[in-house]
């Protein structure tokens, strides 16, 4: 069976800035990949190409064996119509550093929006799903609250529940705890650990080394738009082969 995520030679530039310089990456089904790397190394851009929030300039992104955002005709990739891209995105959950909950909607409405309007599932089915997911992230009593009334940790747990509401094959986390007060980091990481135990395929960009050691099946270290090294957590975190990885770990540990 193919990997859940397959990146081959992915390049991406913003004007003159060459941000991704040929990234190859495989994430097998049910595994957790943690991506480490200094600020500006292209981690967010990498995640954003995986759900086609950012178009790649060269190379290919496959999720569950299917090309993302494009259709291959011979040696060319043709961009898919937006409707198709949106359908593909509903199979990939994305959790942002700054939560990005919809502030004018209640927690319940935040959760129900995408299943109702992107997946066109019946309300009778989506409502209990929202309740279940809120219970799963420990916020069953906050369904009717507005996001502003919640703590950062609670907001991020709602954002995770919102991503799960699409019942995605793959979850992407972009520094999910970086905007949180230190005492709130644990509750969010606990939710992510629970998902990992349940066998969800995930890519998590984070600076939490302890979390990487405990949860990751593989750790990738990125620098200057490339994956510098990739391997099991013990190898990358305790015996890095590259000087740049060592320098980075010395700073964050």
């Amino acid at each position: 069976m193919s990997a859940m995520v397959e990146l081959r030679g992915v390049h991406k530039s913003f004007g003159p800035l060459h941000v991704l310089r040929g990234v190859d990456l495989d994430v097998p089904r049910g595994q957790v990949l943690v991506v480490l790397g200094p600020s500006g190394s292209g981690k967010s851009t990498l995640l954003r190409t995986i759900n086609h929030l950012e178009k790649v300039d060269r190379g290919s992104v496959r999720v569950d064996g299917r090309l993302l955002g494009y259709r291959q005709v011979g040696e060319r990739l043709h961009e898919l119509p937006e409707r198709e891209v949106l359908r593909q995105r509903t199979q990939i959950g994305f959790v942002f550093q700054s939560f990005n909950l919809f502030p004018h909607l209640t927690v319940r409405q935040n959760l129900m929006e995408a299943p109702l309007s992107a997946q066109r599932r019946p309300r009778a089915e989506v409502e209990p799903l929202a309740e279940r997911l809120l219970a799963r992230v420990g916020l069953a009593d906050k369904a009717d609250a507005y996001p502003r009334t919640l703590s950062g940790g609670q907001q991020q747990r709602v954002a995770i529940a919102r991503a799960l509401a699409l019942e995605p094959k793959l979850l992407l986390f972009d520094e999910p705890t970086s905007a949180l007060d230190p005492e709130l980091v644990g509750e969010v990481l606990d939710v992510i650990k629970g998902l990992a135990r349940a066998g969800t395929t995930m890519i998590v960009v984070t600076h939490e080394i302890g979390f990487a050691r405990e949860v990751a099946d593989a750790v990738a270290f990125m620098d200057a738009g490339r994956v510098v090294e990739l391997g099991p957590p013990a190898q990358i975190l305790d015996a890095p082969a590259h000087e740049r990885t060592r320098a980075f770990l010395a700073k964050v540990l």
């Binding site: 759900n51 929030l53 949106l86 995105r89 942002f96 909950l101 502030p103 004018h104 929006e113």
Partner: protein
């Protein structure tokens, strides 16, 4: 080593919480008294001077012709704002489109219709028949499907609504664009990442949040237009301002009738301001 003994607070303070005495503001009181005197003088000037002719004001305030003119003023405002903001929203979306032609056309529209005084625009529409005696619908430079006499199609009322709405659209476009830009980019991203269709993203996620900046500005525009409709008097449309002129030209009670108009404008804007308060509260949901 011993620390120096800290002096114990006075016994009384320890037992009873301290009382707070508010500071006095004698100058504030003086200013308030001064304002009161000026207000009283203004009231007396309005009430006691017989030149205002309050009984004439009372007589005309609810006269059928005046009430009808108020309804026309409201109709012009509603159509001007409704059509203006509908077109303005389309222009704002065009302006923000990545397509260069669409955004340039929107930019050009706003430039043109904001630059030419409203009164000139109204006269252009009013006199459209001079430029194009007949209007037709068809392929540009090609065959025509429908054909109308301009005079039949664009009467004074249509010309007025057209003029007000097209002018308003230029301002509305900027207000709506500002509102859309005020919404955090993360909201657009989250909506896109969840796979929401573009129309839904706009109507359910972006616009309701943009409304927080749009509504106060739109409120200004509506109130501006209630009074601004008075310029259509040049087209002899019997809206409020034209109507009171007609009446005072007949009976010579200039001040009283201007006061009638002023009172109506006051009433209309008051109602609108109250409505604005509730609309703002609605779109403020979920915010502190």
């Amino acid at each position: 080593m011993t620390l120096p003994e800290v002096e114990a607070p006075a016994r009384q303070e320890a037992r009873r919480p301290l009382e707070v005495v508010t500071a006095r503001h004698p100058l504030r009181w003086l200013a308030a008294a001064g304002v009161l005197v000026v207000l009283a003088m203004a009231a007396s000037a309005l009430i006691t001077n017989p030149a205002w002719e309050w009984e004439v004001v009372g007589q005309y305030l609810f006269a059928p012709s005046v009430v009808r003119s108020v309804l026309l003023t409201l109709e012009l405002t509603a159509l001007g704002i409704g059509l203006g903001f509908a077109l303005g929203t389309v222009l704002a979306l065009m302006r923000l489109s990545p397509n260069r032609l669409l955004s340039s056309v929107a930019f050009g529209y706003v430039w043109l219709f904001r630059s030419v005084p409203l009164i000139l625009q109204l006269l252009f529409w009013y006199n459209l028949a001079l430029l194009y005696p007949r209007l037709s619908v068809g392929v540009p430079f090609g065959p025509e499907f429908f054909d109308f006499g301009t005079m039949d199609l664009v009467g004074p009322l249509t010309a007025a609504v057209l003029g007000l709405a097209l002018h308003q659209a230029a301002y509305a476009a900027e207000i709506v664009r500002g509102g859309l830009l005020s919404v955090d980019a993360g909201q657009r991203e989250a909506a896109a990442a969840l796979g929401l269709p573009p129309g839904r993203r706009l109507l359910r996620i972006i616009l309701p949040q943009a409304m927080r900046t749009i509504v106060p500005n739109a409120g200004n525009e509506i109130i501006g237009l209630v009074k601004g409709t008075s310029v259509v008097y040049i087209m002899a449309l019997p809206e409020l301002f034209y109507q009171v002129q007609v009446i005072y030209n007949r009976n010579g009670r200039v001040m009283a009738l201007l006061l009638v108009a002023a009172l109506w404008y006051l009433a209309l804007t008051t109602v609108l301001s109250i409505a604005q308060h509730y609309v703002e509260r609605h779109y403020g949901k979920g915010r502190a």
